[in-house]
């Protein structure tokens, strides 16, 4: 992997170049939360953010989107997908996208997702954990791929890792903005990573997690938490790896309609309802437990579908903490 250095004084010019690739979205602070929004300049962004409310997933699987329109008896695709830049994505969210790739890009490929994935130029950025982060224990705190460029904070600029052919092209085109990485820069990079590694306050012991859940299906802890859980679906909405969506048709006027999809939540009673009236998860307990099995049991090949971003803990109205629940479930086996 090629490493180059972007000195602080060139940061603005580099950002301006990126804007030529397409509309650029970066982390913007609104009230007490951050969101990825379209930005026109560096000053609009808050690059010291910990997490956005909705993950960058929203650019690939939109919270709500029109798929096609029915007019005069014919379906018309809603088009208009263009290249765009996603600036300042954290390692956990890059891992989140890689997990979504396994779902949306494997057969049958989701054409909407795939088009947007190809159109995206992703610039990652280093971060410091807060009290909710537990990515380190899941190995998602560092991205080796899944980005075009990744910026690591240095005292006087950024150490840039180049992760794709397009990333190389951008670096070549802007050769004059970059410098060679010195030993001192590498030392700073290592220091930052060490400081970061020691800053985590939460961890989830991944070892034996699936086996533990295998044994703990009837743990009373699930029941206790299901009584606290509002089943409001907030955790699903903010999760970078939740991938369920609902498809609905609605009328635009008397004779035309649109097919739309939106994020769905496995906490809704109808989520496990199938034809004939059977419901796979009829109670809140079933649905609450299901989420943990979905994130930590069903699919070990996807790194267990959880990237430790901490969104669940931050945005759950009932204050339910993912790691704490799993720890208590583990404890109940002893």
């Amino acid at each position: 992997m090629r490493y180059v250095k972007l000195p602080s004084e060139n940061f603005g010019e580099f950002f301006n170049f990126l804007q030529r690739l397409g509309p650029t979205y970066g982390p913007v602070k609104e009230g007490k939360t951050h969101h990825f929004r379209e930005v026109k300049g560096v000053s609009e962004m808050d690059l010291n953010y910990t997490r956005t409310m909705l993950p960058p997933k929203k650019f690939f699987v939109r919270p709500r989107e029109r798929l096609f329109r029915l007019e005069n008896g014919w379906w018309k695709e809603e088009d208009g997908e263009r290249p765009f830049v996603l600036f300042g994505v954290h390692a956990c969210d890059i891992h989140g996208l890689k997990i979504l790739d396994k779902v949306y890009l494997s057969d049958p490929v989701d054409p909407y997702y795939s088009k947007r994935r190809q159109n995206a130029f992703i610039v990652g950025i280093s971060c410091m954990p807060d009290e909710y982060c537990f990515c380190k224990s899941l190995g998602t705190h560092f991205a080796m791929d899944g980005f075009d460029l990744f910026l690591h904070e240095l005292p006087d600029g950024w150490l840039v890792r180049i992760g794709s052919v397009r990333g190389h092209e951008v670096a070549w085109e802007n050769e004059k903005l970059f410098e060679e990485v010195t030993d001192e820069d590498l030392r700073h990079f290592k220091e930052f990573e060490e400081k970061r590694a020691n800053a985590f306050q939460k961890e989830i012991p991944q070892e034996g997690l699936a086996d533990m859940l295998d044994l703990a299906y009837n743990s009373p802890v699930w029941k206790d938490y299901a009584e606290k859980c509002l089943a409001c679906g907030n955790c699903n909405m903010v999760c970078p790896t939740c991938r369920c969506y609902e498809v609905c048709d609605s009328w635009v006027d008397a004779y035309s309609s649109v097919r739309e999809r939106r994020y769905d939540s496995c906490f809704m009673e109808s989520h496990g309802l199938v034809a004939g009236g059977h419901n796979f998860r009829p109670t809140r307990l079933d649905r609450f437990r299901h989420r943990y099995y979905c994130k930590s049991y069903f699919d070990p090949s996807s790194g267990f579908n959880c990237v430790g971003c901490g969104r669940w803990d931050e945005f759950c109205p009932a204050g339910i903490e993912h790691v704490k629940v799993l720890e208590e479930v583990r404890g109940s086996l002893r």
Binding site: L230, A231, C232, E314, P317
Partner: protein
């Protein structure tokens, strides 16, 4: 289309907003009129059908003998009856006053005389079977539009099954409960309003009534309590729109 469906709009005791909200469909009204003719709607026509209705929309609570008679008339003469707005589906604010009618009359007027034949205000769903219930104070007019076109095309309208939080997050509004500590009933209230109150930075007041099914008011109560709201305040907030459940 050879014959249009006959539509009746009946207003019981309410503020009038839910009936008026239909007129606020503006140009979309003409889309409805492609399939419907309005046989009865005191805000829109001087016709007063008295015949058969394919679809009847009923707004308001049953609060007087006249309301009850009108409701029964509407039910008996219609194929498909929609309880429209929270008064009709849950009783809304009128239904939240707990004293029996005689005591209420006495408290307000000083005697128990009841010249208007007032009844304890109750939602439409308490008296007749309804084919579809669309809550909201007022209901979302787009939802009513979808339901009416669905019915005209022979499709059973789909009920919402998710709380306010879902649309709130889809719209990326900042959570007022978690981030501002405002009393927000979003997690336990039926969605479909597109989180209108949270868009304005206010907590959900629960006007669409509780989410049907396994809703968890006990946990919501504990959450509000932990944010410093007292028992009475929380219970009143819970009961404002939905003392009567459909």
């Amino acid at each position: 289309m050879t014959e249009k469906l006959k539509l009746g709009v009946f207003e019981l005791t309410d503020c009038g907003g839910c009936a008026l909200n239909l007129l606020f469909l503006y140009e979309k009204l003409f889309d409805l009129l492609e399939f419907y003719e309005i046989e009865e709607f005191h805000m829109a026509t001087s016709l007063s059908g008295g015949g058969h209705y394919d679809v009847a929309l009923v707004t308001g609570t049953v609060s007087t003998r006249r309301d009850l008679d009108l409701l029964k008339e509407a039910r008996n003469r219609s194929e498909y009856l929609i309880a429209l707005g929270t008064c009709a589906t849950h009783g809304s604010v009128q239904g939240s006053v707990e004293l029996p009618i005689k005591e209420k009359l006495k408290a307000v007027y000083g005697d128990e005389g009841n010249p208007m034949h007032a009844l304890d205000p109750k939602p439409v769903v308490e008296y007749v079977a309804v084919d579809f219930a669309l809550p909201g104070c007022p209901y979302d007019k787009r939802e009513a539009f979808q339901a009416l076109i669905d019915i005209a095309k022979g499709i059973e309208p789909v009920k919402k099954d998710y709380p306010v939080c879902i649309e709130c997050k889809l719209n990326e509004y900042e959570c007022v409960l978690v981030k501002k500590g405002l009393p927000c009933l979003g997690p336990i209230t039926l969605g479909g309003c597109n989180a209108a109150c949270i868009r304005s930075g206010l907590g959900c007041i629960g006007c669409r009534g509780p989410l049907p099914g396994e809703v968890n008011p006990a946990s919501e109560y504990e959450i509000l309590k932990s944010k410093g709201y007292d028992d009475e305040y929380i219970v009143r907030k819970f009961k404002t729109f939905a003392r009567w459940e459909p």
